[in-house]
């Protein structure tokens, strides 16, 4: 498996799904795809290319929310980051936890931290936040306001 060949095949296979393709360096590739294509892209990278799922990370960029799914193909030292942009009025995406068991927990985490609904997730419950946390407060959103007035927290002083 050669690195350039993998990248070229990937581009051709998902030509209609790719929004933007950034070949950042020899080790890093960033691909932006349409949200509805995530399951087939994830299945292809995980099953056919034999990659390992590292993790996913959600970022609130004010106008939309981005989710990055990171995959490493260790044999050719390549890290593929699949980027999905979700508009704030429609925060839902298909779950990949049924394809990759290791994605189960991180989707639960993103769900509670950013409020994204993963459709088809086997067990979309809270993972990290305490039980008394109010249901519609998402701590990693950019408009997050502290809700608990009695809490003693580091306010970045």
């Amino acid at each position: 498996m050669v690195r350039d060949e993998v990248v070229k095949n990937f581009k051709e296979k998902f030509k209609s799904d790719i929004v933007e393709f950034l070949d950042k360096s020899y080790k890093r590739v960033y691909v932006e795809i349409k949200p509805e294509a995530i399951t087939r892209v994830a299945r292809y990278i995980f099953r056919d290319l034999g990659a390992r799922f590292n993790t996913a990370s959600g970022v609130d960029v004010r106008y939309h929310i981005e989710i990055l799914y990171h995959f490493t193909i260790e044999e050719i030292n390549l890290l593929i980051s699949v980027r999905v942009k979700l508009q704030k009025d429609k925060l839902e995406i298909d779950s990949i936890a049924n394809i990759i068991k290791g994605a189960n927990w991180i989707e639960r985490e993103i769900n509670e931290m950013l409020g994204i609904n993963f459709k088809g997730h086997p067990n979309l419950q809270r993972l990290l936040l305490p039980d008394e946390w109010p249901p519609d407060v998402y701590p990693l959103r950019s408009d997050y306001q502290e809700w608990d007035k009695n809490a003693i927290r580091d306010r970045g002083v």
């Binding site: 360096s25 890093r28 590292n54 990370s57 490493t72 068991k101």
Partner: protein
């Protein structure tokens, strides 16, 4: 026999990560397991966004007391990945030395605790005594036994003095014979074989499906090590072997960790003997907008950091993924079907935070029978004792 529920956890003063396990047992066999984490969620990702790039190194160093090098190492790699930048050779070697020292003391710590759970308190004493020597070396090199504060984006904070190197080499050489003895004592012991072989098996397919990391996956025959596959630091300039075993049981996980300790000793010695001269820091002025990823092989597996910069002096987003986050869910396959006396060691074999296992409490649904953590360790130790008698050792 009726099914009982065993709650494990969640708090213990020694744990770095409190977790709450619910084991459902049928008689002596575990039939189901549920994990609940989040008791120690301190919001470090959010906190890190309030700090400058330099200050964030100190915050994330305090994520974990034992992995206090892996997190800063992954973080500085991520920051250096935002824009193309060369780190001086000497800094790369110093980073490698610190990271490997951490691996040795972490593996020895695990070995000691695993010995304790199985009733081998001599192993516990020996391993922790050896660990002390390594902590002394780290103190000579960095000034601290833990939380070394050696890393900064662009290089390292402190240089290694020439006159310290022979002292460190001598100290490291002095632990090798004892390590060899310990290795033989563990690997050749027939009782330990009977106690740990074939227990808590994680198959290769499940290891890949759950994306297990580090020694947990390498014990199952998944030949993946970031130091070999995606070299960072000075690992591409050093000769060393990746340790992979096939069976995926508790014994193999122990073997991988013990043999890795020897490889780490080899790497540290090579780095100290061949430390190149030169600068230790490239002075970074400012960090342009962009995103970077750093992932390194910590003692327990891959630590993953994602940093996004928007051109200011603070990270816009900082995502941290520790190895246990991926390794913990594998309990679902390893613990089910095992007996309660084996559950302690299987839970410990992934090296999550061994201390959780001290907090195991057993009670049946009617609340008649209650064991605490001490009793469970006793249960585990009694099984070993019984095996020892069968083998005619005592």
């Amino acid at each position: 026999m009726a099914r009982s529920i065993i709650p494990i956890g969640p708090f213990h003063p020694l744990q770095e990560e409190p977790e709450f396990f619910t084991l459902v047992v049928d008689g002596e066999t575990v039939v189901d397991i549920d994990v609940k984490i989040g008791y120690n969620h301190r919001g470090i990702e959010k906190l890190s966004e309030m700090k400058t790039f330099d200050q964030a190194t100190f915050v994330i160093e305090r994520i974990c007391g034992i992995c206090s090098t892996s997190h800063p190492f992954a973080y500085v790699n991520a920051v250096e990945d935002i824009f193309p930048m060369e780190v001086p050779e000497r800094a790369k070697f110093i980073r490698t030395i610190i990271a490997e020292g951490e691996r040795i003391h972490s593996h020895l710590l695990w070995l000691g605790l695993a010995g304790h759970f199985l009733g081998y308190n001599t192993v516990f004493m020996w391993a922790w005594k050896l660990r002390e020597e390594i902590l002394d070396v780290m103190e000579i090199l960095s000034g601290n036994r833990n939380n070394y504060a050696m890393f900064k984006p662009g290089g390292v904070r402190r240089d290694i003095k020439k006159e310290d190197i022979p002292v460190c080499l001598k100290k490291i050489d002095s632990i090798i014979p004892t390590c060899v003895m310990l290795k033989k004592a563990v690997i050749d012991d027939p009782v330990l074989h009977a106690r740990t072989k074939g227990i808590g098996i994680l198959t290769k397919e499940e290891a890949i499906n759950y994306c297990a990391l580090g020694p947990t996956s390498r014990a199952s025959g998944v030949a993946r090590d970031l130091r070999k596959n995606c070299p960072y630091g000075a690992y591409d300039k050093i000769e060393w072997n990746m340790i992979v075993t096939e069976n995926g049981d508790v014994f193999d996980k122990a073997v991988v960790r013990i043999l890795e300790t020897f490889e780490s000793i080899k790497i540290i010695k090579f780095c100290l003997e061949n430390l190149p001269d030169g600068e230790i820091d490239t002075k970074i002025k400012d960090i342009p907008p962009g995103e970077g990823i750093g992932h390194i092989e910590a003692p327990r597996g891959e630590t993953f950091h994602y940093v996004r910069s928007d051109g200011t002096n603070r990270p816009a987003r900082h995502k941290v993924r520790a190895p246990t986050f991926m390794n913990l869910p594998t309990y679902k396959t390893t613990v089910i079907g095992a007996s309660i006396s084996d559950a302690t060691i299987i839970l410990a074999a992934i090296d999550p935070c061994y201390c959780c296992t001290e907090r195991i409490g057993v009670k049946d649904i009617k609340g008649k029978k209650i064991f605490n953590g001490k009793d469970l360790i006793k249960l585990s130790q009694e099984k070993t004792l019984k095996l020892k008698k069968e083998f005619g050792v005592i």
